[in-house]
């Protein structure tokens, strides 16, 4: 009799143990964010292009008389929404290359700095055609500068986009980038910049686990002497369709075609 009671008690204990463990919260594995695949067909009525000028290395962009060629090119092609000039560095008190391009192309110029001292500033110039009411930026000294223009993209139905840029040299900048973007990707922020090739994989991995509702694509060339690549970060409602390598004289230019998915 006692033996039967003992068996019942043992069975009850095993049952309770199994029930307790089965009721524990399931372990959730964070697999990060992955954007849904965009439509396979491009809707050309909803695309715009941005010209991104960069040597994709640590050299300053304008080294010779390239400004004349760029001015001619911009004056003769009016199809791009904006023109970005990576490393269009300037000496304080002297004419900035991007301001000169703005003057000669009758456009408005902006500058997103990466560094600053008394005499020299390194950064990315931006040329747009309309007057800009919002040039939104953030400056975290010694860490990260981000900035760009809010303007109307002339799509099938015009859409307001904030076209911003930054330069990433170190993975320590990633948390600052995510903090600055905040919910920005919900408000049509499109970021085109450069990242050092040796940290681009880590950038992709970091954003996957720290940002949502975005698409990220990279463009690198196999040309010797390049240690950087272009990245395009968009909200999930946009997609970078292609980056076409081109040259304006000896100046490398990349035509970035972006589609609004709506």
């Amino acid at each position: 009799m006692k033996n039967i009671q003992f068996k019942y008690i043992a069975l009850l204990l095993v049952g309770i143990t199994c029930f307790t463990f089965s009721c524990k919260d399931p372990v959730v594995v964070d697999e990060g964010y992955e954007a849904p695949a965009p439509p396979s067909e491009i809707n050309n009525r909803n695309t715009f292009t941005v010209e991104f000028y960069s040597r994709l290395n640590e050299e300053t962009l304008f080294q010779d008389n390239e400004i004349d060629l760029v001015v001619n090119h911009i004056n003769n092609t009016t199809t791009s929404l904006a023109y970005l000039f990576d490393r269009s560095d300037a000496f304080i008190g002297q004419t900035s290359p991007v301001v000169e391009i703005g003057w000669r192309t009758r456009t408005k110029s902006f500058f997103v700095q990466n560094t600053l001292n008394e005499s020299f500033v390194q950064g990315t110039g931006m040329i747009v055609r309309p007057i800009i009411n919002v040039f939104e930026g953030a400056a975290i000294p010694d860490t990260l500068f981000v900035g760009g223009c809010t303007l109307m993209a002339p799509l099938g139905n015009p859409v307001v986009v904030a076209l911003i840029t930054c330069k990433l040299d170190d993975k320590m900048q990633f948390p600052a980038l995510v903090k600055i973007l905040g919910d920005g990707l919900k408000t049509n922020k499109i970021m085109i910049g450069t990242v050092k090739q040796n940290i681009s994989a880590e950038m992709k991995e970091y954003l996957k686990y720290h940002l949502k509702d975005f698409r990220l694509s990279f463009y690198a060339t196999n040309t010797a002497g390049k240690n950087r690549e272009i990245f395009i970060l968009t909200p999930v409602s946009f997609v970078a369709r292609e980056v076409v390598s081109n040259n304006i004289g000896n100046l490398p230019m990349y035509q970035c075609k972006i589609e609004y998915l709506n």
Partner: protein, 256 residues
């Protein structure tokens, strides 16, 4: 004895940054361009030569044309930026003469943020704007510099209403020391300026009249500071009828 030395060392570590902190120092110029630069026949050289002799950090303009028929369809601001080696920002108030008229800013250092708001309260004669830039100086201190041109209406409430809108937009969530510079179309004892002084410090208080440039009898152009802890190092009223009907302000200001 060792304890005392340690205490002194800790105290030094705590208070030394306060002694070493440099004041934020800026030279600013305010220029009302009088119909987009008409007195100087819209000549960028004339204005640039004036500005260059002062080597300012920031220049703010009112009544700046942008590609208008009257200025010869040109971007006078960017032309000056090229000549002076500065960074331009244009803020539109309204469409005029096939182009635009508004405020503008030139900065020696690049700005990382810039905005323009335009407002036309009931009773105002036309749309007016306020534009501002945020910039980081080489010592990494940040400052906001704004320019405005308040309406010329006889009704003080129009300007007060504009200022209220400007205050909301410029000062909300703003931790930067800020300057609001320009043509307020109001004398120091007016309702407009009394309202302005609730929030802003009249850095040029007690200085000379600014209009007209041939016979200055009224002070209506100001350099205002926020918070009210700016220091006036120098404040010069420069009258040049060949450039404008307003006298210009050249001010050296500091903020701790």
């Amino acid at each position: 004895m060792i304890l005392n030395k340690n205490i002194l060392l800790i105290l030094w570590v705590i208070i030394s940054p306060a002694f070493m902190a440099q004041n934020l120092s800026l030279r600013v110029i305010s220029m009302n361009m009088k119909e987009g630069g008409k007195p100087a026949n819209f000549d960028a050289n004339a204005y640039s030569d004036f500005i260059r002799q002062y080597n300012p950090d920031v220049v703010v303009f009112q009544e700046m044309d942008n590609f208008t028929t009257r200025n010869g369809n040109k971007d006078l601001l960017t032309e000056m930026a090229v000549k002076l080696g500065m960074f331009p920002y244009y803020g539109k108030a309204f469409t005029y003469a096939s182009g635009d008229i508004g405020n503008a800013i030139l900065s020696k250092y690049p700005f990382y943020n810039a905005r323009t708001i335009a407002t036309k309260p009931t009773g105002a004669s036309e749309m007016r704007a306020c534009s501002w830039i945020d910039l980081m100086m080489p010592d990494k201190r940040k400052v906001r510099v704004a320019v405005t041109h308040l309406d010329v209406s006889s009704d003080e409430q129009v300007r007060v209403s504009m200022l209220a809108t400007i205050n909301t937009n410029i000062l909300t969530n703003n931790e930067l020391p800020t300057l609001l510079i320009g043509d307020f179309n109001a004398t120091p004892d007016s309702d407009t300026m009394n309202y302005a002084k609730f929030k802003w410090q009249d850095i040029g208080e007690g200085t000379g009249n600014t209009i007209s440039s041939t016979n200055p009898t009224k002070r209506i152009d100001y350099v205002m500071g926020y918070p009210k802890t700016w220091i006036r190092k120098s404040y010069e009223i420069v009258c040049n009828p060949g450039l404008s009907d307003h006298c210009f302000i050249v001010a050296d200001v500091e903020h701790l």
